[in-house]
Symmetry: C2
Subunit: 132 residues, 2 copies
DNA sequence: GTTGACCTTCCCATGATGGAAAGGTTTAGG
DNA sequence: CCTAAACCTTTCCATCATGGGAAGGTCAAC
């Protein structure tokens, strides 16, 4: 009883914008869906399921490239879960590296901000440090 | 005694790539430098100083837009340091928000990874969670 | 039967950075 | 003095994920 949805309805049902659905199709991440006679894309439950999977992975910060791998593993009945785990661990490492970068920036900025009076006078250790 | 540098030398002296120096010029972040008869850009100590300032600010994660503000304040003899401090604090907040986002992703991923056996079998809580 | 809300494709923009092509200049070595 | 290497110039294209908008076709409701 799963009647087909057009792209707007599929977007609403999956949380992926229509714009991005078309984009994912154009880069080959998802299959070309069937069309109506007028050319409207039609999505069934299965396609919406894939789109939701994509949204969840994107929410966890996976790149589209990693997404392609994840989708491949998801579709593969014979995947070893070790591959999925390794992929996720690689991503965790990337996230950690990014977090650390940002934390270093933040710590340095906080140090500078604590040194700055922040009043009407022009003297400012922040600018001085940037100018070195 | 500050002889003029061409763009490659200015890049080496400031740590900003020649490519980016031209880019900053094209978007109006820095002034158009004088040129030789052949059209080569020429940079003096002052310009290199500005470029170093830019690099330091970029290293702290300031956007080019914020950079324009920072440069304006740096040049302004009558700036109130409160403005610089406010700008920096705004940036700290942005960094913190980004850090938190990434930390949430990482925490969720770690939770999933800990549930996954990571062996030759296909069963994988990570994929199951993504598929929901 | 018209209007509004969809859909289609195509092009452009973001932000910071790099690559490469096609052509001119300068410099060092022979 | 000539040539080759190492510069410089501009212009275009690419990244990555996303959105905006235009121009035009379609569908549903009143």
């Amino acid at each position: 009883m799963s009647r087909k949805l057009n792209i707007g309805q599929a977007a609403a049902a999956s949380g992926v914008s229509a714009k991005m659905i078309r984009h994912y199709e154009s880069i080959g991440l998802i299959a070309n869906p069937p069309r109506t006679e007028a050319g409207y894309r039609l999505y069934g439950d299965k396609e919406v399921h894939v789109l939701r999977f994509i949204r969840h992975a994107r929410n966890l910060g996976f790149s589209v490239k990693q997404l392609a791998e994840l989708l491949g593993l998801w579709m593969d009945e014979h995947r070893p879960s070790s591959k999925v785990k390794a992929l996720a661990e690689r991503h965790i490492d990337e996230l950690q590296q990014k977090i650390q970068e940002l934390q270093l920036m933040k710590a340095e900025l906080e140090r500078l901000v604590h040194c700055c009076h922040g009043d009407h006078r022009p003297d400012c250790p922040i600018l001085e440090q940037l100018a070195q």
